[in-house]
């Protein structure tokens, strides 16, 4: 009888444990949301304390002096890029996260949770988080079309900039000083806070490195200063048997078409409004045709690897490290993984910083034109279900990062995170900013390499600045309304662009023009026409930034 009772009890315990285990999958963090319940929305609106985070606490003093620790622990969830970099601590737990938790979180009774967002698939990650009502409190993204889509699709809540200024006066004042208040609105309502991007119109942090030792072997004592020299050097490198396909190449992984140099100057305003975008490739536009035509010529000359369309980003990097390709580029920090690996694999090799003039070809690219970055770094929105305390904690964190940025940027090796932990402190600024540009570049110049690139990087900055000062650096339009067709067709058009781009690069040169026209028509019919029409309408309605003159 006892044995029977024991068996029954054991069965019961096991069944309950399994059921609870299964049902736990259906659980959700208990959190009051206002979704789909208008009564709750009204209640929230009736409560001024809830509506205004700045009044959620007892102290009305602006800035840090007015901050006190929250009575009840606040969990602040921050969407953070996860780039899948190898050999670094995870985004969720590393030196940076522990440091800010100790210095900021513990002081104000805030638990900081960094939510990993796949860098290459930001929109899907956020869409899935939205689908399970689990959006972070802070959502960040560089591309304006993406954040405007979030605002339009209800991911974000509107914000009161005055309240923000009360909690984070330094941050707000910087936005005013940098003239960023033009970018806070979508459909007439404030959604965004903008981070700083120092020297935004020069893109000086991105550097292309070239094999100077190869150039010397084929008789060059300098980096090719124009496209003729570049082609000559490539051909000589091939002929000398140094590299089979020195230009290498990789599959298309982003919709951005670097066709600024191929554009007329000044570019037509409406063309710019329709086609200049990071979000959707501008196949069918004249400058894109010129760019692909040049790639077609390079492919047939053998500069490009004939199987470039099977080479992914990591393989491209590995090919440079393994001495198979002439050039590779990336953002500079004190420690750049691919440069470290390159010198470890090729201790006798010599690298040099490439010049922006190497693409200049009379009649095609008469002078360099560059895509300047946006006059802001991250565009930051706030999850629709964030409570007033969470919103306040988010603004406090952003202000605190702004005030302590030097400290946050000065632990590159201890914290061992990707890109000097930039994906964390980008909530306030996009790069290290010192008193002078020379010092700023000095801070991001790669250290402990056989060669110091600081001076070459400074020279490169001055070249870029010259281009910018001449008015040849400008960015894409930002729309204050969501471009709905872009959200609908973007992903499918990207896939189509990759296919068409490769077909055009590999086609016979004599067939290029005909094929370009044919594929452009198919691309326009697949949704691009709808996108450019919508963009143009928004531009004409005054719902976008204007082309700087």
């Amino acid at each position: 009888m006892k044995k029977n009772l024991f068996k029954r009890l054991l069965t019961m315990v096991l069944i309950v444990a399994m059921l609870v285990g299964a049902l736990s999958a259906c659980g959700r963090e208990s959190k009051e949301t206002v979704k789909d319940d208008p009564k709750k929305v009204d209640q929230k609106k009736d409560d001024p304390k809830k509506e205004d985070p700045q009044k959620g606490d007892t102290n009305d003093t602006a800035g840090t002096d007015g901050w006190t620790a929250f009575d009840k622990k606040v969990t602040l969830r921050i969407g953070t890029y996860d780039r899948g970099a190898e050999g670094v601590d995870p985004v969720t737990d590393n030196g940076y996260t522990r440091y800010v938790q100790e210095q900021f979180g513990d002081k104000y009774n805030v638990e900081l949770v960094f939510v990993p967002i796949t860098r290459s698939d930001v929109m899907t990650d956020y869409a899935l988080l939205a689908a399970v009502d689990d959006l972070p409190n802070i959502l960040m993204e560089y591309d304006y079309p993406k954040v405007s889509q979030w605002a339009n699709d209800g991911y974000l809540q509107t914000i009161d900039l005055e309240a923000f200024a009360q909690v984070a006066p330094t941050y707000y004042q910087r936005m005013v000083d940098l003239n960023q208040l033009n970018y806070t609105k979508i459909n007439g309502e404030d959604y965004f806070i903008l981070a700083e991007r120092p020297y935004y119109n020069t893109t000086y942090t991105f550097i292309n490195m070239v094999r100077m030792d190869w150039l010397e072997q084929v008789g060059y004592d300098h980096v090719p200063a124009n496209y003729d020299e570049y082609c000559d050097a490539m051909q000589k490198i091939i002929d000398a048997g140094i590299a089979e396909h020195p230009q290498g190449g990789k599959m298309i992984t982003e919709a951005y078409v670097p066709n600024f140099g191929f554009r007329d100057y000044p570019v037509n305003d409406e063309d710019w409004a329709m086609h200049s975008s990071l979000g959707t490739a501008s196949l069918s536009w004249g400058p894109t045709k010129k760019l692909i035509k040049r790639a077609n010529a390079e492919y047939h000359k053998g500069f490009i690897n004939p199987e470039y369309f099977t080479i992914d980003v990591e393989t491209e990097k590995a090919n440079f490290i393994n001495g198979k390709t002439y050039k590779y580029g990336g953002y500079m920090t004190a420690s750049v993984d691919w440069l470290n690996s390159f010198y470890a694999a090729n201790p006798d090799a010599k690298l040099a910083v490439d010049t922006i003039y190497s693409s200049v070809e009379p009649g095609v690219i008469d002078f360099p034109q560059i895509r300047s970055d946006n006059p802001y770094g991250m565009t930051i929105g706030f999850g629709k279900d964030s409570t007033s305390d969470e919103l306040k904690a988010a603004w406090m964190y952003m202000e605190w990062c702004t005030l302590n940025i030097k400290e946050l940027q000065s632990h590159p090796t201890d914290w061992n995170n990707f890109n000097n932990s930039k994906d964390f402190w980008c909530v306030t600024i996009e790069s290290v900013k010192a008193d002078t540009i020379e010092a700023s570049i000095g801070a991001i110049s790669p250290k402990e390499l056989p060669k110091d690139f600081t001076q070459e990087m400074i020279d490169n900055y001055h070249d870029l600045k010259e281009v910018a000062d001449a008015g040849h650096a400008y960015t894409d339009p930002a729309y204050a309304v969501a471009i709905n067709a872009e959200a609908e067709y973007n992903a499918a058009l990207f896939s189509l662009y990759v296919e068409y781009y490769d077909n055009l690069v590999m086609c016979e040169p004599a067939e290029f023009d005909k094929l370009y026209d044919e594929l452009s028509k198919a691309y326009l019919d697949a949704g691009y026409k709808e996108i450019i029409d919508e963009r143009l309408a928004a531009y004409k309605a005054g719902s976008s930034t204007k082309l700087p003159r």
Binding site: M18, L19, A22, L23, T124, D153, T310, E488
Partner: protein, 314 residues
């Protein structure tokens, strides 16, 4: 008397009595039942997404009702037709190539008499099933790249070919490579069920056939194959239900822009035009369409199997 007996039987099988007697068994049954309800049926209300222009952050109440517009859009989309054609073609080819192979393999393994060799062979054949498609795709590119792949290097260096074969960069070659990798990956694992079915065949039939002078081939044809016919039919019905399926994990690692004509199948369509485009309604509509066609095919094939005198599946 009869009435009394009937009453007694009813009393014995009454639910209260049955529950009281076997409550542990019913509780145990509750576990799989709950799991099925939770993970298979609880999601069904979500299918109404196909009637909305669903925005995750707005929920059903905040999203716009569009009726059957999503279906109309999908069926008019030439990319969908392209993906549908490729999916059906490749699944039929997969079935034609991949379905008989595990049966042949099981028959061959069953004939092996040296047990250690048999076991080692089985283990080697099962292993590919445990490799992810990402790894298989990466290995495939390393081995079959046109200019630098191991296979092409070997063939070129041996003088067998003058230029590399575009195994993965020309669509017809790609189709053959893709299908053969599918067979390679699945045949070992797929043979397990047939080997199990073979073990259920009465050994005395083989002994009798041997006494009658039947050779191996005759025994295989007349005893083994008829013995596993029921299993073969069941597996065929299950596989027919997958004709509309599409394996994203397998397609992506093998893909590149030059083979998109064939690689663009429903899984890719659902991802590109559905999930990646934040169009959950479209993704759900295509998924529902796949499931309904799959169900229809299973029912039809089950009917046909029963008409042919087999047990069928349902």
């Amino acid at each position: 008397m009869t009435k009394v007996k009937k009453k007694a039987i009813i009393a014995r099988t009454g639910w209260k009595r049955a529950y009281k007697r076997d409550w542990q068994l019913y509780l145990l049954l509750l576990i799989p039942l709950t799991l099925v309800i939770l993970f298979n049926y609880a999601a069904y209300p979500g299918l109404r997404m196909v009637f909305y222009d669903f925005k995750p952050a707005k929920g059903y109440l905040g999203s716009e009702w569009v009726g059957l517009k999503t279906f109309a859009k999908v069926f008019k989309d030439k990319d969908f037709i392209r993906a549908l054609k490729s999916s059906i073609s490749f699944n039929l080819l997969d079935l034609a190539l991949g379905f008989p192979m595990p049966i042949i393999l099981a028959l061959a393994l069953n004939e092996l008499r040296y047990k250690r060799f048999k076991k080692v062979s089985q283990t080697i054949l099962y292993l590919p099933h445990f490799l992810s498609w990402v790894i298989i795709g990466s290995v495939a590119y390393t081995m079959f790249r046109t200019s630098s792949g191991l296979v092409n290097n070997f063939l070129t260096n041996s003088g067998l070919i003058s230029e590399g074969i575009p195994f993965l960069t020309e669509k017809w070659h790609w189709a053959a490579t893709y299908l053969l990798f599918g067979v390679w990956q699945g045949m070992g694992w797929g043979s397990i069920i047939y080997l199990a079915a073979i073990t259920a065949i009465d050994i005395e039939q083989y002994e009798a056939a041997m006494i009658d002078g039947a050779n191996r081939w005759q025994r295989m044809r007349s005893i083994t194959l008829p013995g596993i016919k029921g299993t073969v039919v069941t597996m065929l019905i299950i596989n027919l239900g997958r004709i509309m399926n599409s394996n994203f994990e397998r397609l992506v690692p093998f893909g590149n822009s030059q083979v998109k004509d064939f690689q663009y199948q429903l899984a890719i369509y659902i991802y590109e035009k559905g999930l990646a485009g934040n169009n959950f309604s479209r993704a759900t509509a295509v998924g529902l369409f796949q499931s309904l066609v799959g169900l229809f095919l299973v029912l039809i094939s089950d009917r046909v199997a029963k008409k042919l005198g087999e047990d069928g599946l349902l």
